[in-house]
């Protein structure tokens, strides 16, 4: 249990990513060790951005249709959404620094009002 909001169900996923917050979804599976190793990095990066950044996770084994729809080909995959639109994606393990470098330009960009 990572503690991130579970958006595995398609209906929940659609609703959450359509929201106004910058949202990162970690696509993972129970058996993916590297996926679990990402969690502390994501927690650390999310600290201080609780009101502007939402971090969620979806299990691709439990919803293969969602994984197909988003063209998930390897785990973990991180996809960043804003108002329903994909803003970027990363595959594989990421350090906190890599995540900060990925998120900061978008979080601090002109189209992010938070």
């Amino acid at each position: 249990m990572s503690g991130f909001q579970d958006v595995t169900q398609t209906q929940v996923f659609n609703k959450v990513i359509a929201g106004p917050l910058l949202t990162i979804v970690k696509f993972q599976s129970e058996l993916c060790v590297i996926c679990r190793k990402l969690d502390p990095m994501l927690y650390a990066v999310g600290k201080g951005f609780e009101t502007s950044l939402l971090i969620c996770e979806a299990d691709v084994e439990e919803n293969t249709a969602l994984a197909d729809r988003l063209n998930i080909r390897s785990l973990p995959t991180l996809i960043m959404f804003k108002s329903g639109a994909e803003k970027g994606r990363l595959q594989g393990f990421q350090t906190a620094r890599m995540l900060r470098n990925w998120i900061s330009p978008i979080l601090n960009g002109p189209d992010n009002e938070y």
């Binding site: 990402l38 502390p40 650390a44 600290k47 594989g92 393990f93 350090t95 620094r97 900060r100």
Partner: protein
């Protein structure tokens, strides 16, 4: 719920005999009187391994060319990753004794080497350590090139990777045997006791 007691016996310094006493004597000679950590009291159940591991730790921390601050910062970060509250307090205390500020220790706990007074090479090696720990096979020639251009030697790659190995090994040991924090630690002990109490409530 783990409870507060370690899962194996930790023999007090005053009750140690034989090889166990030799291990404790080694620890006190290097660290000072009364500073036999609970981790190494657990190793006392298999003193030869305890002695070998303490030698490994002593070589890692006192030899080599990388700063002790870098190695302790990496081990602090690993302790967070491995949910080892004892190890966070232990390595945080070590960083305090090396002169690190609370802000720097907090930065290590958030894997943010940019906020720690490190040289560019140390920042690159901290990042390399985090990446190697997360997925060793994700290290690329570019990662190596960045460290090399900042002056990292072959021996220093070995030194930082051994820091990762040692940190993880001790975190596993402390967690799986439910080993509690030492009385002589100074960093975040209130936080440690609160977490322990919450886990056992």
């Amino acid at each position: 719920m783990q409870g507060f007691e370690p899962f194996i016996e930790l023999v007090d310094v005053n009750d140690a005999t034989g090889d166990r006493k030799s291990l404790y004597d080694d620890l006190e000679r290097v660290r000072g009187k009364g500073r036999v950590s609970n981790l190494f009291k657990a190793y006392g159940a298999f003193p030869e391994l305890g002695i070998a591991n303490f030698k490994r730790l002593t070589v890692l921390l006192s030899r080599g060319t990388l700063s002790e601050k870098l190695k302790e910062a990496v081990m602090t970060a690993l302790a967070v990753i491995n949910h080892c509250d004892y190890c966070v307090s232990f390595h945080g205390s070590q960083l305090q004794s090396l002169g690190s500020s609370d802000q720097e220790i907090a930065a290590a706990r958030e894997f943010d080497a940019e906020q720690i007074e490190f040289s560019p090479k140390e920042k690159a090696l901290f990042e390399y350590a985090m990446k190697a720990n997360g997925d060793a096979h994700s290290i690329t020639p570019e990662d190596i090139r960045i460290c090399r251009e900042l002056g990292t030697t072959d021996a220093e790659f070995v030194e930082i990777l051994e820091t990762v190995n040692t940190g993880n090994a001790f975190n596993t040991f402390a967690g799986a045997l439910n080993i509690g924090a030492d009385d002589f630690l100074t960093y975040a002990m209130d936080e440690y006791h609160e977490k322990k109490a919450a886990a056992n409530s």
